[in-house]
Amino acid sequence: MNVELTVNGEAHSLDVEPRTSLADALRDELGLTGTTLGCEHGVCGSCTVLVGGTAVRSCLMLAVQAQGEEVRTVEGLADGDRPHPLQEAFAAEHALQCGFCTPGFLMLLAGALAADPELGGDERRLDALLASNLCRCTGYAGIRRAAQRVARSDRSADSKDMRAPHIQA
């Protein structure tokens, strides 16, 4: 079955079986293996990508359902050689160890912070959001600090720079 979608700003036309998940299409058809698959049951969140600006589980969406949609994966976060502020913050705050969960957390946060920049300053809501995804290495504290760091720099003078233009809500 044919599906036309935009991934990280680039239009693609794919021929997939209806049973192919969006995650498998991204990885196997487009070679975008930054999106990792852990549980394939919606639980771990490592496969989280943005569809139309909203974070969803790409293991619980069929590729054919992405017809006409704008998909963004971790490969589309950086601006050329310049890492996305969230990526810089993750490095600075030691928010990753093995890195398996990292693309999912980055996309979860990219979607949520673009929709609601205040979120980073609200610890309870931030924790509720971060509970969406599993990390078996870091203990989450670094991930929370990274999100707060981006939120802080967002509010500071050079916020224009940090509000990445390539995250479209």
Binding site: R19, A55, R57, L60, M61, L62, Q65, A128, A131, S132
Partner: protein, 294 residues
């Protein structure tokens, strides 16, 4: 595992979806949010020949408010109810309950109607539908019909929906103005399904309980409304003793099964505690205290 092969159709009108199901209903499954169905397909516990995706049908994502009821289209997502855009006891209840349904990415796609069609015994929305007296609206080859919640749930994962029918929406009666709502859930981890949960919609009239509805989550193989506990309360002054008696009655109405992490007696006890907390909150100042929810 990967799902077995299936055909896929995404009709762009309800008429077309109804026509497809009239022809191929028994070998098909309706796809809404996919947050339960796609997992079942991966386990291969179900191997439909065709998925009928409702997501391209226009007009199903609306929340329509009328004087006496709220109508949720079949594609109203959990996330829409988390930010229910109106001022009403029912909206309060939606906003309190929604954060307990999965996580934000699940809530972005999963639907209220899909939850009712799935009929998981631990689904919060199913108990909300029972407690509020919702009606599930269906379309099929024989036309339209509406099934009240208490005739909808037939068992765990079993409903009155025919194989050639689809849910077009759910109508929920609005509780009397001035009702207060409370919800409390006990779960093993932040990410778990409810081990047990309770919700209360209650209106005080002249200091007495004028009207009350109590819903129980994961208290039996179907969602329950604790009618006997409601009877204990109605017309009475809400003293702590009365609330405790009603909570004990609700626990007795429950029929929980043993689960690996929770023997039936434990879950029955937890249900009583949760009902008492909800009642206390609903007769108190009505505010929700999420910190005290477990």
């Amino acid at each position: 595992m990967k799902p077995a092969q299936f055909d896929y159709l995404a009709p762009d009108s309800l008429d077309e979806a109804v026509a497809v199901l009239a022809e191929r209903g028994p070998e098909s499954r309706v796809l809404a949010g996919g947050q339960s169905l796609l997992i079942e397909l991966r386990y291969r516990t179900s191997r439909p020949a065709l998925l009928v995706d409702l997501n391209r049908v226009p007009g199903l994502s609306e929340i329509v408010l009328s004087d006496n009821s709220v109508h949720l289209g079949a594609l109203v997502r959990h996330a829409q109810l988390e930010r229910a855009p109106f001022d009403d006891p029912l909206a309060d209840l939606f906003r309190q309950v929604a954060p307990y349904v999965g996580h934000p990415p699940i809530r972005a796609r999963g639907t209220f109607a899909g939850s009712l069609a799935w009929a998981h015994p631990a689904a919060e929305w199913c108990a909300l539908a029972m407690a509020t007296g919702a009606e599930i609206e269906l379309r099929g080859p024989a036309g339209r019909r509406a099934v009240p919640a208490d005739a909808w749930f037939r068992g765990a994962f079993a409903t009155a929906c025919g194989p050639d029918e689809l849910v077009t929406g759910v109508r929920l009666p609005r509780p009397p103005a001035g009702s207060r709502v409370a919800f409390a859930e006990h779960r093993r981890t932040h990410a778990s399904f409810a081990l047990a949960a309770a919700m209360v919609v209650l209106r005080l009239t002249g200091g007495r309980v004028g009207w009350v509805r109590i819903g129980l989550v994961n208290a039996a193989d179907v969602p329950l409304r604790a009618v006997e506990a409601e009877r204990v309360l109605t017309g009475e002054l809400p003293s702590p003793e009365l609330l405790a008696e009603a909570a004990a009655r609700a626990a007795a109405e429950a029929d929980p099964a043993d689960e690996p992490h929770a023997p039936a007696a434990y879950r029955r006890h937890a249900l009583g505690v949760l009902v008492r907390r909800c009642l206390a909150r609903a007769v108190g100042d009505g505010t929700h205290d999420p910190a005290g929810d477990s």
